[in-house]
Symmetry: none
DNA sequence: TATGAATGAGCATTCATTCAT
DNA sequence: AATGAATGAATGCTCATTCAT
């Protein structure tokens, strides 16, 4: 729920364009969104010119405004389009029968893999979120899925006596999620190359320890090491 | 160490200007840097126009180029100017006699306080770092001080058998540092208000647990709770 | 008779569209003309976009060109549509038996009332006439009805020795008609509020005196005052 | 004091540019204003492109915005520049010793001559005033000088028993002034060619009669005819 | 006829950067 | 060093007009 400031006068509700009414319109809009993604990933949000997008889409310059009122709006459409694509495969939540560590490890690995796959978009989203508060909110909402699942998981473990009951589950979930997501950013956007297994193992280990989760005997061997 | 890409043609060696030779020159340059900080914090890096800066500084537009070759360059000067201001008071490193938990808590608290004090600048740095790879490096270097101190500390604790010897100290230091810095960003830039004490305690608790650091008996009472 | 210049390249023969052949066509055309009037009166000629008109008419953008070749052409159609509406009820011309002053007063009052009723259109016509010479002619033709009737009236009075024989009847009619029409513009378009009775009386008084028309005994009491 | 409407959202206070601080700046600004006048008179307000103005002035396109924020603003500057030029030589007001008719005749003639001299500008002002309410006000203010002088004159004559005391002097002055100014527009802008002497005589005759001003014996022979 | 999407010329506007004084 | 005016490339955006369906 954070609210960013540093905006001032950039109100601009960006009067929404009507959605296309014909099949051709749908196709043209889709071409534009797809072209926008290409151009944004290639040139970054700021350097992307609308002319580049329409050229890439093979439409006239004016056609852009049939569907979008601004660069921000088409960027939002790009994010919408790739929403599913970016959702790290929803690993099932922890249930009583599961090995909590294995579940956490699987979640972290899935997150990192998804991040790696969409690194260009993640870089882009970071860029735009740092510039435009509207997209800071989008980023926040997007992270919430990950964070809230983790928060529920922590509470569940706490209830079963499997996690330190003294930490604020919500805050811990946020902090640990940031640890993972920022590490992913460092690795796949900034290029601080690290092995996926090493990352998964270390992050999982830190996470598990941080919450005081006991490791199960015969745990997933990919999570090496254990506290005696 | 990370190298960012997404640059292409933006080479721009940014031909450095000579430092001012006269006292008047020194004063004018200082006025410009100070004005730049004001304008950047108020309008953000992108919306700040050089004309705004010179107006704020009370100089003519042309005078800007006597001292700086570009907006980036004066932004670098701003960062240089506030370098000390932003350094969270260097808490001394862990030595044998110290309570490790207390030291970590002090470090986290100092970091958060510094972040809160310089929130406007941190937002700015995040903005520019997301846009311009040169400043992504600056951010990285800046974080390194914090991260490396933490890495040394971890190694030191591992050597004394006070921290889990199986985690990669460097990677753990990075991950945990990101956890703290990103939580600070969330709190003080995005406005997800949290109490400083709660933050310090929770982050310290997670940190300490993550590394398997045993809490000293009679520990700092501000670090509430303990693993039995 | 006047010919305006300031045109040059704006020839544009405005290839007239064929009138609609089907009943549906007639209805669509009528809807467009009606919508155009609404939009023109609301936004002015210049700010009215063809898209606004078609939207208001509930037709597709392309349908406009089935009936009109340009904004000018549909404006002409609007003027055509409201022609009768704008004609100030034709007061009968002065005949021997009438009281000339009463007739003039009735004419002025009718003109003012009509102007007040169609103020939005008159403003519009002034706007377009000032911009487009074709419509300056339309305005001129429209005024001619009023002016020529007045000219005939003056000549008639002169012949009967009831008006100063030395003035050029045509010129006087034009000048006095402008006096009335411009006063109407001032009042109903520019909003220089004046009472209709006061206006009618004063304008009639000035008109009558200007031509040296003797007032009949027992004249219409609404025309107060008299030259002894 | 009439207030026009038909504007809606066109607020735009047109943030004023600072006046030039150097001699060169003064010269450039003057070149722009002069060029604007040329282009406006040649192409009309609407068809004039800013590029035409800067080209005519021999400056870069961007220089326009150093001095003006919009086409409206430079048009206001043009009007300002020609203010004196357009003021019909201030004929002295009627004093007791003067022949009222001669004074009125002189005023009308001066007005017509000034109008003829500045016909291109008057056409322009009519155009813009019909489009932009701000300039409708300018036109109104400009006319007021003429109208108010006439109102004072009428009152003066009424006091001396030389003009019909029953007419509202203000309204009569406005109506008669409109008669003259609109006739001038007809003649010099719309091209309804008329001889200056004929116009002056007829308008003066109508004016004088309208107010019931007695003609002096041995009056100015240019005012032919008299009521016996 | 009607539709609504596609077109693209046209123009205003910004602002970093240069330069004469 | 300082000044502030001049420059002009770069682009977003509008909207009348056309056209395939």
């Amino acid at each position: 729920m954070p609210r960013t400031s540093n905006d001032a006068d950039e109100a601009e509700p960006a009067e929404l364009r009507e959605p296309p009414r014909t099949a051709r319109g749908v196709r043209t809009r889709a071409r534009l969104v797809s072209a926008a993604r290409t151009v944004f990933e290639r040139d970054g949000f700021l350097d992307a010119r609308l002319a580049d997008i329409t050229t890439e889409a093979g439409t006239a310059a004016g056609s852009f405004y049939t569907y979008f009122a601004s660069k921000e709006e088409i960027f939002a459409a790009v994010l919408e389009e790739v929403k599913e694509e970016m959702l790290h495969p929803q690993v099932r939540e922890v249930t009583s029968g599961d090995d909590p560590v294995a579940v956490i490890a699987a979640g972290n690995r899935a997150y990192l893999e998804s991040y790696a796959r969409n690194a260009a978009l993640m870089r882009l989203l970071e860029q735009v979120a740092a510039i435009d508060d509207r997209f800071a909110d989008v980023r926040w909402q997007r992270g919430r899925a990950f964070t809230e699942r983790n928060a529920r998981s922590i509470r569940h473990l706490q209830e079963r006596g499997l996690a330190d009951p003294d930490v604020d589950a919500g805050l811990a979930a946020t902090a640990l999620s940031m640890m993972v997501s920022r590490t992913a950013y460092n690795t796949y956007v900034l290029g601080d190359d690290r092995d996926l297994d090493t990352l998964t193992d270390t992050l999982t280990r830190l996470w598990v320890n941080a919450l005081g989760i006991p490791e199960r005997v015969n745990a997933d061997p990919s999570v090496k090491g254990s506290r005696p």
